[in-house]
């Protein structure tokens, strides 16, 4: 089964990045002056906010043949493969904003490292968690 990021799911990291741009602009405003602060905020918004939407176009997570295969990246495409047998745990994070957008962040821990998947729908996150960790639904 293949899991993808929905448009609203991509909006979640886009809003985080917009918040980061605004925070960076605020810091520049405090340390310097409003002009450069506005420039930093606009540059951040223009450069960073489109990234999650571009990334979404090439994102695909597949569980097949005992491995989780995640392909992502627009300019630089990266494929991560984790054997399901090596998965030690799965962490699901739901923020208030994510609840509004029906988007979840999933962190997959394995013996080799960890993989963070942002913007999956709640149903996809539950299905992927079951495919990786198995067991009963959450308490």
């Amino acid at each position: 089964m293949t899991y993808t990021v929905s448009l609203r799911g991509a909006l979640l990291p886009a809003l985080w990045l917009a918040g980061c741009s605004a925070a960076a602009g605020f810091v520049v405003w405090l340390l310097w002056s409003p002009g450069p602060a506005l420039a930093v905020t606009l540059a951040g918004l223009l450069l960073l906010v489109p990234l999650p939407f571009l990334r979404r176009r090439r994102f695909a997570a597949t569980v097949a043949d005992g491995a989780l295969c995640v392909t992502s990246g627009y300019f630089l495409q990266v494929t991560h493969t984790l054997p399901v047998a090596g998965v030690t745990g799965v962490l699901r994070l739901v923020t208030p904003l994510g609840r509004l957008l029906n988007a979840t962040t999933l962190v997959v821990f394995s013996t080799g490292g960890a993989l963070t998947l942002v913007g999956l729908t709640r149903a996809d996150a539950v299905a992927l968690r079951k495919a990786l960790a198995g067991g009963e639904p959450s308490p």
Binding site: V87, R92, V94, F109, T111, S138
Partner: protein
């Protein structure tokens, strides 16, 4: 299916600074015997304490821990809702700890360790004691076990001595003294130093003046670590039921460790200077990310490994590390302690003429450096590696004054073969092994073909021949 809520003390980490912020003025007033002042300080911090209490109650009410279908799930949160799922099949060891400060509240700490991992190494849950014991039983079930190792009498003293860690105890004692000094505003370290100076004056009757204070400090920390070790090893026992090893013990802090035997990655026999004196060696186990250094599993007498093999037959008949002293570089083993010894000997010679007061101190340091030279010679004669047909790798290596005999049972490790150009010409190299518990072991001056064979066989991948550095 087991279900529980986390203990409210699990969330103490989030509010500890706020609690300390409120508690410090109250304690300071109490130490000055100013009860009205303490009451006023308590009222001032009341709002912060009430907020912390409310936060703890909300977090506690929303927390859930459940174990079902081979998955342990931990959920909770206030604004950020966090649900974690851990596969019980990947749990290598469980530790149930009931420290002194949690026991009055009926809480216990449950630590889970995994078969491997860089980001997720262990998780800690503070649960009601009954529930923590229930989860421990459900995660690694255990039947009636007979203790295969339970030190008593002099054996108990030997075990406590071998488990004592003077360096770690000294560090923690100094940190605690520093922290207490900061909190209550009195220099606890100076008070302790005053007491040590009295002990130093007493020892000065038997020892040279320059050495008495040093001996008092060393003796103080040694006794402190011995007491800590004595408390930790109280009623210690180790046994096995099926594929699960269990060890229990401790007086003030009761600890129970359950280790899955198929997940054991390495077993180490540590030969420290004290172990040489006692002719006994402690055995430390690593199982995935579980690698305790505070308490060994058992203690084996020199030449008598029956208890060990009775408990862990998987470790029987280990390969003997191959060692070729003639092909080794003596300088690699001896340059550090040797140059230090020469320097100290020169300083001692000068000090005897110019500053006789510090000569005894330099003499002690020279004796330690010479012990390092002796250990270097031993490493030259013994350090090596070997692998048997079952894929178990035996490594013998030395660090400072301690020799380690390690049996590696896993292939989930990183092996690096490193040779400088002169060493490569001489056909030798260093072998560096990194285990899943992030311990790095270094065996020096191994024959290059042997190291390449071990690297190829010890890991799932192969080696790239004729390269100076190989990461497998």
């Amino acid at each position: 299916m087991s279900r529980a809520r986390l203990h409210p003390l699990h969330f103490f980490n989030y509010i500890q600074y706020a609690v300390v912020l409120c508690a410090v003025p109250v304690v300071q007033e109490l130490l000055d015997w100013d009860f009205p002042g303490a009451w006023a300080a308590l009222w001032q911090g009341f709002a912060i304490l009430a907020g912390c209490l409310l936060l703890t109650v909300v977090l506690w009410r929303t927390s859930r821990v459940a174990l079902a279908g081979g998955v342990l799930s931990v959920a909770g949160g206030l604004v950020l809702w966090r649900t974690a799922f851990y596969r019980t099949a990947t749990i290598s060891a469980v530790e149930l700890r009931r420290p002194l400060w949690l026991a009055p509240f009926g809480a216990a700490e449950l630590f889970l360790f995994f078969t491997g991992g860089t980001r997720l190494r262990r998780i800690k849950l503070v649960l009601p004691h009954g529930k923590a014991a229930e989860f421990t039983r459900a995660l690694l079930p255990l039947g009636p076990t007979r203790a295969a190792f339970a030190p008593a009498g002099m054996g108990r003293l030997h075990f406590a001595l071998l488990s004592a860690n003077v360096a770690a105890t000294s560090f923690f004692a100094l940190s605690a003294a520093n922290r207490i000094s900061q909190l209550i505003g009195e220099d606890v370290g100076a008070l302790a130093l005053g007491g040590l100076q009295h002990a130093g004056q007493l020892l000065a009757l038997f020892l040279p003046a320059g050495l008495s204070l040093l001996a008092a400090v060393v003796l103080f920390f040694f006794v402190l670590s011995l007491v800590a070790s004595w408390l930790r090893t109280f009623r210690f026992s180790a046994g096995r039921f099926g594929d699960i090893l269990v060890c229990r013990g401790g007086l003030l802090s009761r600890t129970e460790r359950r280790i899955r035997v198929p997940c054991i990655t390495a077993a180490t026999l540590k030969t420290s200077p004290l172990a040489r004196l006692l002719r006994r060696r402690p055995l430390y186990l690593q199982a995935g990310t579980f690698a305790p250094t505070d308490l060994p599993l058992l203690m084996v007498q020199r030449g008598n490994l029956q208890t060990l093999y009775q408990l862990l037959p998987e470790l029987a008949d280990p390969p003997v590390p191959a060692c070729e002293p003639r092909r080794k570089s003596p300088g690699q083993y001896l340059w550090r302690p040797g140059s230090l010894s020469l320097l100290l000997a020169a300083l001692l010679a000068v000090a005897q003429r110019t500053l006789p007061g510090i000569a005894p101190l330099l003499g002690v340091l020279l004796a330690l450096a010479l012990a390092g030279v002796a250990c270097g010679v031993e490493a030259l004669l013994k350090e090596g590696a070997a692998m048997d047909a079952r894929g178990r790798m035996a490594l013998c290596y030395t660090r400072a004054l301690t020799r380690y005999d390690l049996l590696l049972l896993t292939k989930d490790c990183t092996i690096s073969v490193f040779a400088t150009p002169p060493a490569q010409l001489a056909g030798r190299c260093n072998l560096r092994v990194r285990t899943p518990s992030r311990k790095t072991l270094l065996v020096r001056s191994l024959p290059l073909p042997l190291a390449q064979t071990l690297a190829a066989a010890g890991c799932r991948g192969g080696t790239r021949p004729n390269t100076q550095r190989e990461e497998v």
